[in-house]
């Protein structure tokens, strides 16, 4: 399976210890939210998962195999900004994943192969709600639509793990709750383990099956740099946690999805467990 294991992982930059002794196992198909104050190492944690940074000590295993030390197609990613390519149309941004895969040399598909990739991309774009925008450039899309595009782009290679670095942090609340519904649906429908860094606790509780908080425990200023962050709280099942107060914008026309799930535990939505809403 594709469980992610952190085995005594340390990350240091020179004298500065960022993360210390992280032992962690993330189950396949979990949706993990990483929370904590700024500078606590959430992003470093994500970068190590991504392969952009290497742990100073310890190992990270994906499906029992040490993680490759560079980003690769088994881990998709959506950043807060700059996730999509400004020089490609919406459709071009999605098919490029298939083009990289199927045209090893120049990374460009033509003719029948290209049309097949385009059909697949159109399906994904429809799923994230971008039908009809195929020929626009990203600069013509709103922030929320750009993030939807980034999701579709990341999903076309069917990654095992999807990493989200504050993906919805720059969106306004209405757009954010719509994209939460989409995110929950993507996680539910595809074979994905999701790890998301967020500043927004309510977002973490709304989406995740598990929330991991980072904290720097010791606080002696003269030694501050020598202590890295540890996991301070590991909340396995936020469904048990009472609902947090909602923000001021509650829009009633947000689709609740899924209405029912066969063979799995109810998916928690912002209105409670995925109950019949008809």
């Amino acid at each position: 399976m594709n469980a992610i294991v952190f085995d005594k992982v340390w990350k240091e930059y020179g004298d500065h210890v960022v993360l210390e002794q992280i032992n962690l196992e993330i189950a396949t198909r979990a949706f993990v939210a990483l929370v904590g104050p700024s500078g606590c190492g959430k992003t470093t944690f994500l970068k190590m998962l991504l392969g952009e940074e290497r742990p100073t000590r310890g190992n990270i295993l994906l499906g029992g195999i040490p993680l490759k030390s560079e980003p690769d197609s088994d881990r998709g990613v959506v950043f807060q900004r700059y996730s999509v390519f400004p020089h490609l149309t919406v459709l071009g941004n999605v098919i490029i994943g298939r083009e990289f895969e199927r045209a090893r040399g120049i990374g460009r598909l033509f003719g029948k192969k290209r049309r097949r990739a385009e059909d697949e991309a159109r399906e994904l774009l429809a799923a994230v709600g971008l039908s009809g925008d195929e020929n626009k450039y990203p600069s013509a899309l709103s922030g929320g639509m750009q993030q939807r595009l980034a999701l579709a782009q990341a999903l076309i290679r069917r990654p095992k793990v999807l990493l989200l670095d504050e993906p919805f942090g720059a969106l306004d609340p209405g757009m954010r709750s719509e994209i939460h519904v989409l995110m929950r649906r993507i996680w539910n429908e595809s074979e994905l383990t999701v790890v998301m860094v967020t500043h927004d606790l309510s977002e973490a509780f709304a989406l995740a099956t598990r929330i991991i908080a980072f904290e720097r425990p010791r606080n002696r200023p003269e030694e501050a740099e020598r202590y890295g962050s540890r996991l301070s709280a590991d909340i396995p099942n936020p469904v048990e946690v009472p609902m947090l107060p909602k923000g001021a914008t509650v829009t009633n026309d947000i689709e609740i999805w899924p209405k029912k799930i066969a063979g799995s535990k109810a998916v928690w939505t912002r209105y409670g467990p995925s109950a019949p809403h008809a």
Binding site: D72, G76, F79, R81, F100, E101, R104, I106, R108
Partner: protein, 272 residues
């Protein structure tokens, strides 16, 4: 209303743009008129009629010695040198700049030497080029290449470095190889910026061209200007200078239009 809030409308904008040109023309006419009134044979500020006669001779009558229409043969010779030089320089800059900006090893190896070499004044190399390559076309084109390519390389390498790290990571998570990233992510985003960089190098390229032609050539716009200087032929020099300016301006305009047509995403992405 405050001055910063006075915005001319379209008509005014055009009119205001013409104003300085009209002023320059007027100043010349007045100056030339004063001098010619004192001495009808004055050569320094010839009247427009004298200049148009001179240009008529150069553009529409074959040169008795060579049979060429000098203005056009000079223009062809200069543009061939200039455009070959800029084209070679652009190609070098694109390859080297992308490699330096994208590959850390290439950057570590070549970025320092290029930043040192780009400080060599190219004109100081001209004698060397004439000695090594002779007085023909090769030395002139090489001067343009040396004079413009190093700056272009540095510029392109910086632009490649400006591409957000997120995009390169994203491409890797989509399975792209280094070559694919260079071709599909970096190159298309660099090309419109390369056009901007080349536009800025048009001026220096003309400078090097005219310097090289002035020293050793048998045709070319720069050659002609320096040739007729011996006879104080301002009636030829001034129209030639205006012609060179026009050519440079048109090259700049062409590149700007090309950038807008070929990279429709660029203006918006840059504004965003």
């Amino acid at each position: 209303m405050r001055a910063i809030n006075h915005r001319p409308d379209k008509t005014w904008r055009v009119a205001l743009a013409f104003l300085p040109f009209a002023f320059l023309c007027l100043a010349y006419i007045v100056g030339s008129g004063i001098r010619l009134a004192e001495n009808p044979n004055d050569k320094l500020l010839p009247g427009f009629s004298t200049m148009s006669e001179a240009i008529h001779v150069y553009a529409a009558e074959p040169d008795p010695r060579s049979g060429n229409y000098l203005l056009w043969s000079d223009t062809a010779a200069s543009l061939t040198r200039l455009i070959s030089g800029l084209a070679i320089s652009t190609a070098i800059a694109l390859l080297a700049g992308t490699a330096i900006g994208l590959l850390p090893i290439a950057g570590a190896t070549f970025a320092p030497v290029i930043s040192v070499l780009s400080m060599v004044p190219p004109l100081a190399l001209l004698p060397i080029l004439f000695i090594v390559m002779g007085l023909g076309e090769a030395s002139k084109i090489t001067l343009i290449v040396i004079g413009t390519s190093l700056k272009l390389i540095r510029d392109i390498a910086l632009r490649v470095g400006d591409i957000p790290r997120e995009q390169l990571i994203k491409a890797q998570t989509l399975g792209a190889s280094t070559m694919q990233i260079a071709l599909r992510v970096v190159l298309p985003q660099i090309l419109p910026r390369l056009i901007d960089a080349v536009r800025l190098e048009i001026g220096p390229a003309w400078l090097f061209l005219i310097a090289a032609e002035a020293i050793a050539a048998d045709s070319g716009l720069g050659y002609r200007i320096f040739l007729v200087r011996r006879y104080l032929s301002m009636d030829v020099i001034l129209p030639y200078v205006a012609w060179i300016t026009l050519l440079a301006f048109l090259m700049d305009l062409t590149l700007r239009v090309l950038q807008r047509k070929a990279f429709p995403w660029f203006a918006e992405a840059r504004a965003a």
